[in-house]
């Protein structure tokens, strides 16, 4: 049986288009808002019936809202484990949402720029994801989605604490801005700790590719705000756009310059060796592939290699992950079979099929 998910796997979503400000280093910008609906208990205390009622309430609200009519609705509870993993790899749902239990769903735009998770930690987790540092665009879109939902639903709002959330660490704006960065040169020059320290001083969190509790894969990092109370959405966003991200991008560019100036041969060796492995390997794990793709991506941006385009690389980052690989292959694969399939898939893409 064909599901809406069979189609999405062949292409990369809006946020992987490789456009937008600072897109060579800023992969994507995501903004998420946490909201809870008045009249229901928060999810830790909601019985199955109430959870069900919450998903139905949100679904009908999105169907009534003119601007949200084109959303694709997916019942996450009914999905196979593989399809849930696929949505996690595409950043349409969180790992927590995938691994949860009980009635829960996601509704997303066909372009995958916007998604609404229902019954994750809060009743609603609205997210908008854009390529590069398109942070203003992301905020405008999510703000207008929130407005549309607010016309249909009453959100819990407290005069002092703002939007109320199940975890007090999200209360206030309920906003989480997460910017995904590609920082290969800072890692090669061992300067990441400096960046991490600076981020912590500014009350920001640095995490791996899939957010909370995940490791950095292939030099990709997510940086996000932790403070949600006492600062407005605009202040938080302005900070990312004007201070935090430009600073980190500047560090990464400086590190790239240093490498080019002092270690250009070693750098070329890394880039071309990575290309060599990707074009020839017969067995490759996703971690190893991510690391080499990261080096090739850097090589492309500093002009050491032209034989591959950004679009292909971006799609590869997504499609070599376990669930994508299995969906593209059309059947379940064990670890070793995936390594074989992954190596073959990358060879085909990079050697021009």
């Amino acid at each position: 049986m064909s599901t809406p998910l069979d189609a999405v796997v062949r292409q990369a979503g809006e946020w992987l288009r490789g456009i937008g400000p600072m897109h060579e280093i800023v992969i994507s910008t995501r903004i998420r808002l946490a909201r809870n609906i008045s009249g229901f208990l928060f999810l830790p205390r909601a019985e199955p019936d109430m959870r069900q009622e919450i998903t139905e309430t949100v679904t009908s609200a999105t169907r009534r809202a003119e601007s949200l009519k084109d959303l694709v609705h997916i019942d996450v509870d009914e999905l196979s484990e593989l399809d849930r993993q696929l949505l996690v790899e595409r950043h349409l749902i969180s790992r927590q949402h995938a691994d949860g239990t009980g009635a829960r769903s996601v509704a997303f735009q066909p372009s995958e720029a916007a998604a609404i998770m229902v019954n994750e930690e809060d009743h609603l987790r609205i997210q908008v994801m854009r390529s590069g540092l398109q942070i203003n665009e992301a905020w405008q879109q999510i703000n207008s989605i929130d407005d549309s939902l607010e016309e249909q639903l009453d959100f819990e709002f407290h005069s002092q604490y703002g939007y109320l959330t199940a975890c007090p660490t999200n209360v206030g704006t309920g906003i989480r801005v997460s910017v995904m960065l590609h920082l290969p040169a800072l890692r090669l020059t061992n300067e990441l700790e400096k960046v991490a320290q600076a981020a912590r001083d500014m009350k920001l969190a640095i995490r791996g590719l899939h957010g909370e509790g995940t490791e950095a894969l292939g030099d990709f990092f997510q940086i996000s705000n932790q403070t949600t109370l006492g600062r407005s959405e605009e202040e938080i966003i302005d900070d990312f756009r004007d201070v935090v991200i430009p600073k980190i991008v500047e560090y990464e560019n400086a590190a790239r310059e240093v490498l080019l100036k002092n270690r250009s041969l070693a750098l070329d060796d890394k880039v071309w060796r990575a290309m060599g492995v990707l074009k020839n390997a017969r067995l490759i794990s996703s971690n190893e592939a991510m690391q080499y793709l990261s080096h090739v991506r850097m090589g492309l941006h500093i002009g050491r290699l032209q034989s591959v385009d950004l679009q292909t690389l971006n799609e590869l980052f997504l499609q070599i992950q376990p669930a994508h690989l299995q969906k593209l292959h059309g059947e379940r694969l064990n670890g070793e079979q995936r390594s074989i399939e992954r190596a073959a898939f990358i060879r085909a893409r990079l050697n021009g099929k």
């Binding site: 208990l41 205390r45 607010e150 703002g162 939007y163 704006t173 600062r231």
Partner: protein, 165 residues
């Protein structure tokens, strides 16, 4: 670059200028290791909100009031359950555990204790000017600290304008 004034071996990477009680300037130049040993350098450890939350909630166990009897009559969650899972059961809990939450929020939100962001349209715009003034005042303080007096003057005028209206 100078050597660390304490161990006299490693490069001084940590520089601190203090004003002592008599009002004179005291400069320190240390390597990271010595700075850490003197407790001047924060060790590179992630600020984990959940850790803060857990520690905070655990520490409040020993405070004066008997928190174990606090229970929300709407969702039925007890303070102990909240303490263990870190998640609240309903909006009413923000009132029931008011004091505990107020202290927790100050620690996890860098001192922020009042929402200054978006307000649902259905609630009208009544809160809005207040929020703006508070925000502008903070931006004003930041601009003064950064010695950006041009921006500070503009912000000051805007605050006055709002306060008069």
């Amino acid at each position: 670059m100078g050597r660390c004034e304490r161990c006299k071996k490693a490069k001084a990477t940590f520089h601190l200028t203090n004003i002592d009680r008599s009002g004179s300037k005291v400069e320190r130049h240390l390597c990271d290791k010595c700075a850490a040993e003197e407790g001047l350098l924060q060790t590179a450890k992630a600020v984990d909100l959940n850790d803060i939350l857990q520690n905070f909630i655990a520490s409040s166990k020993t405070s004066g009031t008997d928190l174990s009897t606090l229970v929300c009559d709407r969702c039925g969650i007890s303070y102990v359950e909240f303490r263990n899972q870190g998640l609240l059961g309903c909006a009413n809990d923000y009132e029931v555990f008011k004091e505990q939450i107020a202290r927790l929020l100050e620690r996890t939100h860098a001192g922020g204790s009042v929402h200054t962001g978006k307000t649902p349209k259905s609630l009208g715009v009544a809160h809005k000017p207040q929020h703006d003034i508070r925000r502008l005042k903070r931006q004003l303080a930041e601009a003064v600290a950064a010695e950006d007096y041009e921006r500070a003057a503009k912000l000051r005028d805007r605050v006055r304008q709002l306060e008069d209206s």
